[in-house]
Amino acid sequence: MWTIIKNEIHFLCRNRAMLMISFGFIVVLLISVFLGIKQAEEQEKIYQEAKTHLRSQWVSIKEMNPHSAAHYGTYVFKPTNLLSSLDEGVNSVTGNVLRVEGHVQNEIVHSEASQMISVSKFGKLKSSLLLKFIVPLLLIFLAFYSVSSEKQSGRLKLLILQGAKPFYIVLSKTIAVWFYGFILLSIVVLSYTLLNLSNSTSETFLRLSLLFLSYAIYYFILIGLTIYFSTRWLRTTIALTSMLGIWMIWSVFLPNILMSSVEKWHPLPSRAEFKTAMIEDRSKGIDGHNPSDARGEELKEKVLKEYGVDSISKLPINFDGIRMQADEDYGNIVWDKHFGNLRKVQKKQKEAFQLGGIVNPFISLQNTSMGFAGNDNLHHQEFLVQVENYRRDLIKALNNEHAFGGSKTGNWGWTANNDFYKSIPDFAYKSVALTSVLSNYVLDIALLLGWLIFILLLLIRGAKKMQVI
């Protein structure tokens, strides 16, 4: 088997056209890695500058009423991920700025896609674009030629006559072409690692290894299937056309068709419906700005009883702060309910989409590639949750200061000093643990491995049924 693999590698090394194509591919891949890293660095720089600027604005508040500060709010920026230079996943469409303020949970805005000129909306030149769409095409042509040339030239007969087992021939050819894909993949990963050595952590390497593994398995699946087709069909053009058709269905049509179907099976409410439902539920709570609100009255009675006084003016604290926090707490419950439902639907959608990997391993690759790169919906949702938690802590701290910082009810002119504002921590994002990522994509990994076994069985069958003459 090794003899055949070695001979295939000889072909790749000695064929001038192949060398030129490989050189071109390697240059483009290296450019994509370099540009990806440059873009990520640029984004990180902008992110850090904006973050520092906003923090300095916040800590330089000299004197301000805490509730005014809650309305003044701040902005949280989605941090760039080191591996986004390889696969930016959903990041270009999800937005990266979120305004954090009292009373309201804002939506994340300013997606890159919304700010690009139309031609750029096809996506930036990222390594994942080449590794997912272009390299597979090259591998299909190579794998196809690898067997068809043996059949057409009549060498296949000679190979078998010399004692080469048909299964070893097809497996060796699959491995040889896969090795070529492996080299292209390694060039991307190694150049990325070398250029990011100082910024990388052990988790980065682990994520990178898993990303590498997903692509390596997918390439084997694609090459194995191409080899199978070329062994089974006598007319080589039919075999090649079929494989190109499969590539197109797998990587272009099926993901879109499946996503549309999944959205129909598990529909999300429209933005208008969602907002209306939120407003309706929110209206059942306390109006933090309306002292005569009925539910506010109940809270007032409760607080007066707690402090043993009969009027708000006798309270040693500022009741406005308590009422506003109660309003926030209720708002949070409403948010949790509606966003919880939204998440449940999204989870169902994700699970149904993952099952698409049964018929399309590209879906599993797409999921794992984004997931291990840390730019999938799981990471995005985690960011939103962390921002919301930060918002809640921030507003609670401001309301508490308003209530217990020394002011009296109705004293909207009271201000907290700079020390208080400085004491409020900045937002710090904690990335999703790799174990969570793995558990989220265990199905995709299992499906890729399932496909790998299926392809090996297909190759055994293809070898048995191979048309030698």
């Binding site: 001979n7 007969k157 004692g163």
Partner: protein
């Protein structure tokens, strides 16, 4: 060495080979003459184990080709009309590759000797075979069979398209192999080359072996007359 007993084969009802029986001994060269579609290539492919006969027995050195094609293939060297080699490898590298597949690992010196023995000029050994003539590629093909210690050589239209010198060299090489004990079957249209090289000649017509005789029993002209006669009838 080679034995075919009542072998028949048809494809979708069309008879390719019918009740074919033949025995070829050690050191014998049998020439199979016949028009296109006479069943020459089908017979060779059945001997190679790539086509299963519908009926009959095929044995090589007493081993059943149908049941143990893996074993009989070890004994066979096959030289098609166009020996297709890997164009990016040299003659030596091609020989080395095919020998390794057959489980033989030779030194460079030994490989060079094989190519030289089969008539390939020394200066061509290390050249890429993409620049080889048809005759040169055939010599490498025969060297591949020779290096794997083939005892049976099956040649399908080997002289077609060869220039007279290359054709003559091929004849000499086949005779030399036979003198070393190889059994050779050569399917061809070339009456004169077959008459010159082979000990025995068989004429195939529509899958049936219609005539078999010793080549010494007929002159080249008589053979041509005989062949045309059979083809016309």
């Amino acid at each position: 060495m080679i034995e075919l007993k009542g072998v028949s084969k048809s494809f979708k009802g069309a008879i390719a080979v019918k009740d074919f029986s033949l025995t070829i001994g050690k050191g014998e060269i049998l020439g199979l003459l016949g028009a296109n579609g006479a069943g020459k290539s089908t017979t060779i492919n059945m001997l190679l184990g790539f086509i299963q006969p519908d009926s009959g027995d095929i044995n090589i050195k007493g081993i059943d080709v149908i049941k143990e094609s893996g074993e009989t293939r070890k004994l066979i060297g096959y030289i098609p009309e166009n020996v297709s080699l890997y164009p990016y490898l040299s003659g030596l590298e091609n020989l080395d590759y095919f020998c390794r597949l057959a489980g033989f690992v030779y030194s460079m010196g030994e490989l060079t000797d094989f190519l030289t023995k089969c008539g390939l000029q020394t200066e061509a050994h290390n050249r890429s075979v993409s620049g080889y003539s048809k005759g040169m590629r055939q010599k490498v093909g025969i060297a591949i069979a020779y290096a794997k210690k083939a005892q049976v050589y099956l040649l399908d239209e080997p002289a077609s398209g060869l220039d007279p010198l290359a054709s003559n060299e091929l004849s000499a090489l086949l005779k030399s192999l036979a003198s070393e004990g190889a059994s050779i079957i050569m399917a061809s249209h070339d009456i004169f080359r077959v008459r010159e090289v082979c000990n025995r000649i068989g004429i195939l017509k529509k899958g049936t072996l219609v005539k078999e005789f010793l080549s010494d029993d007929v002159s080249a002209n008589e053979l041509e007359q005989l062949y045309l006669e059979y083809m016309k009838n």
